[in-house]
């Protein structure tokens, strides 16, 4: 958090590329075109905001990148992997090792303590207990939640829950952090805290961040690039980096 930004080092190579991506849902008689021919490129180390009103297809786009969903046609490449061609098993491995996800509703498992939630991905990765404990501790320390390790999610505030979710997303050292309205359930102050943390991950750990939001102000303050979607189509793609460089400190006030 004190080190200088390391963005340029990782920038340049393509992290995510979608080609003519379609995702259609059938709902009774009608077909919903959630993602409708999107082609885009996100470079490694970028902080990108996916913007749009509800139903614009931004969450569907994120799910396709996360490998939670498969495209109807077209393809998504993440670090040269064609997600459409991966088996279910390989997709699970991809989600486990390459992607970290944060959600609007935190999505912690209520029956588990904070530590257990955070180390859950390590169980799927079959990491042994001793190493799991130290990694979870480290991860929780990073999000400032060490004091709450043995609490259950219901005993935490919204901000704390989202921090726990961030710690969980971080634990497998993924290259990609996908956030779906991460501040949607938080007040603006806590939201800012969370976003600062996400930006730190982007800068210090070199993680590529794709954040879905409908708050343009939030995107303008944190993202280097803003991609606008409407009715499943890409309508605008603009650079936001100049304002970021100067507006960081002022934006926090």
């Amino acid at each position: 958090m004190t080190t200088a930004p390391t963005i340029p080092a990782a920038l340049g190579t393509v992290a995510i590329r979608s080609e003519n991506l379609f995702r259609h849902y059938r709902m009774g008689e009608s077909v919903i075109r959630a993602v409708d021919g999107v082609s885009l490129e996100i470079r490694s180390g970028e902080f990108v905001a996916l913007l749009g009103s509800s139903g614009s297809g931004k969450s569907s786009m994120l799910n396709l990148i996360a490998g939670l969903d498969r495209p109807t046609s077209g393809s998504v490449f993440v670090q040269e992997r064609d997600l459409a061609k991966l088996s279910r098993e390989e997709l699970a491995k991809y989600r486990l090792h390459v992607v970290g996800m944060v959600f609007q509703s935190f999505n912690l498992i209520p029956s588990m303590t904070v530590t257990e939630n955070v180390e859950l991905p390590l169980r799927f990765a079959e990491v042994d207990r001793g190493r799991r404990d130290s990694l979870a501790r480290e991860s929780l320390e990073r999000v400032g939640l060490k004091a709450r390790m043995s609490h259950r999610p219901s005993e935490l505030s919204g901000g704390e829950q989202q921090r726990a979710a961030l710690a969980r997303a971080l634990i497998n050292r993924p290259q990609l952090l996908l956030a779906d309205e991460p501040t949607g359930n938080l007040d603006s102050h806590t939201g800012t805290e969370i976003m600062d943390m996400v930006r730190d991950f982007n800068r210090e750990l070199g993680m590529t961040v794709v954040m879905v939001t409908h708050e343009r102000a939030l995107a303008e303050r944190y993202a280097q690039r803003m991609i606008f979607l409407a009715d499943g189509k890409l309508v605008d793609d603009r650079d936001n980096s100049p304002s970021l460089g100067t507006g960081t400190e002022g934006g926090r006030a």
């Binding site: 098993e89 699970a92 999505n107 799927f124 079959e126």
Partner: protein, 465 residues
């Protein structure tokens, strides 16, 4: 996910909806209990029956007779050496049999009909000798008095019907019989006088004395018959009839074997065998050979046949009995399993419910990297854990049910003055089998829910709050 993690998570999930999972587990344990109860009843009955049969002395005994004894008319059953090779059933043959492997004891069947005097009244009856080992025979359950004090004691045990005759209390048909306790009072410790025909020791001075002399001397043989009297002490009254299967030949009065032998009573068979007997040694009409283990009976029987004697055992009867028990097992097992199958439907139900409840949780796990296999294994582990727990509780429950039923039945048997029985057995293999089977059935039941959970679409699962 590795096994310890899987177990830990599965148990945690089971604890989360404790009531429902406990009820499902109870269902399994009731199923297992019924299976265990059924099969342990089968095992117990079989053990009880073979215990009884072993005690009856039928299954471990080979009856040996001389081939020359044609009286039985069972000539067609004989196989092996021709009659020319047949031997006399004498002391030498007896010694030889005693030295065969797996033979526990050899004793002659001494059986004769004679007159017993009690309080100056004569009673004609069949007398037979009992070896001391017969004491363990379950015919002696409920005997009044005691068994012979030694193999040579001049003591006698009476069967109940003969005791009735002695005290003059033979009840008319249809009326309740006097109890053996009642009969024992006037008889125990009293003396009987037995009058019998003794085969003479000296072979060169043939004498014929007494009314029991049935002499019909074959050419060339020389022996004497002496009328004798012997005082006997009544030591026991039998309630049951140890020779019920012998029909009209059955004895109602019993003497110790060695004592009976020393009497040298003239037996029917002597008349025919005596001519062949080279010495003064006794000749037996038949001999009973007891083996150490009923499973060895075939070998002993074959060995005796080779010696040139006719043998008979109830081995084949015991074989068909095992067949009957196999069928009984199958039936009991099928009925016992029914409850377990019903319980397994409970597992399916519980796990399908759990999928609905934990939809979101499954979605989360998949989103953070759980594979289909991980989710499947987790549900499988939950089903397996319920199966093992249900199996263990069920075995204990089944055992307890057995104990209660056994106890209850014995209370009833006691009220009917029948000695108690232990007809309930839970062998170790049954415990292992029941738990294993419960686990197996649970895993089978877990197949469908686990598959369904694994196929859950994470996007759908995470969509709803």
């Amino acid at each position: 996910m590795n096994f310890p993690d899987l177990t830990e998570l599965a148990l945690r999930n089971l604890r989360e909806s404790l009531l429902r999972n406990s009820l499902t587990t109870v269902g399994i344990s009731v199923g297992v209990a019924s299976l265990v109860a059924m099969l342990s009843l089968g095992t117990g009955l079989q053990q009880m029956l073979s215990r009884r049969l072993e005690k009856s002395g039928l299954f471990d005994t080979v009856f040996v007779s001389s081939r020359r004894d044609l009286r039985s008319g069972r000539q067609e059953e004989r196989s092996g050496p021709t009659p020319g090779e047949s031997r006399v059933l004498d002391e030498a043959a007896r010694m030889e049999m005693e030295h065969l492997p797996n033979v526990k004891e050899v004793f002659p069947d001494i059986r004769f009909s004679t007159e017993l005097q009690f309080e100056d009244k004569p009673h004609l009856t069949m007398i037979s000798a009992l070896p001391l080992s017969a004491k363990s025979n379950d015919s002696f359950d409920g005997m009044q008095g005691s068994f012979f004090s030694s193999d040579t004691a001049p003591e006698v045990i009476l069967q109940k019907s003969f005791a009735e005759e002695l005290v003059g209390k033979t009840p008319p048909l249809g009326e309740p019989e006097p109890s053996v306790v009642e009969l024992a009072k006037p008889l125990l410790g009293k003396a009987l006088t037995m009058r019998y025909a003794q085969r003479g020791e000296s072979a060169d001075q043939p004498q014929a004395q007494g009314p029991e002399n049935k002499e019909n001397e074959p050419a060339g043989a020389s022996y004497s018959v002496v009328s004798r009297e012997q005082k006997l002490k009544i030591v026991g009254i039998l309630d049951l009839d140890p020779e019920s299967m012998r029909g009209p030949m059955r004895a109602r009065v019993f003497l110790p074997t060695r004592f009976a032998e020393n009497l040298h009573v003239m037996q029917l068979v002597d008349l025919r065998e005596i001519s062949r007997a080279a010495s003064k040694e006794p000749v037996y009409s038949s001999i009973s050979v007891r083996v150490k283990d009923p499973s060895r009976i075939q070998g002993v029987e074959d060995a005796i046949k080779k010696m040139g004697f006719t043998t008979f055992s109830i081995l084949d009867a015991s074989r068909s009995l095992q067949q009957v028990f196999r069928v009984l097992y199958a039936f009991l097992g099928i009925f016992g399993s029914l409850a377990l199958i019903v319980a397994s439907i409970g597992i399916v139900n519980t796990l399908v419910m759990a999928i609905l409840e934990r939809r979101r949780e499954i979605g989360i796990m998949k989103a953070i990297g759980a594979s289909d296999g991980d989710v499947k294994k987790l549900f499988f582990a939950e089903a397996g854990a319920m199966g093992i727990a249900g199996g263990i509780i069920g075995v204990v429950l089944g055992w307890a049910i057995g104990q209660v039923i056994n106890f209850g039945t014995n209370v009833y048997l006691k009220s009917q003055s029948i000695p108690p029985e232990h007809f309930w057995a839970v062998p170790l293999w049954l415990v292992a089998f029941a738990i294993g089977f419960a686990c197996f059935v649970s895993l089978i039941s877990g197949l469908y829910p686990a598959g369904r959970a694994a196929k859950l679409d994470p996007v759908q699962a995470l969509r709803y709050e």
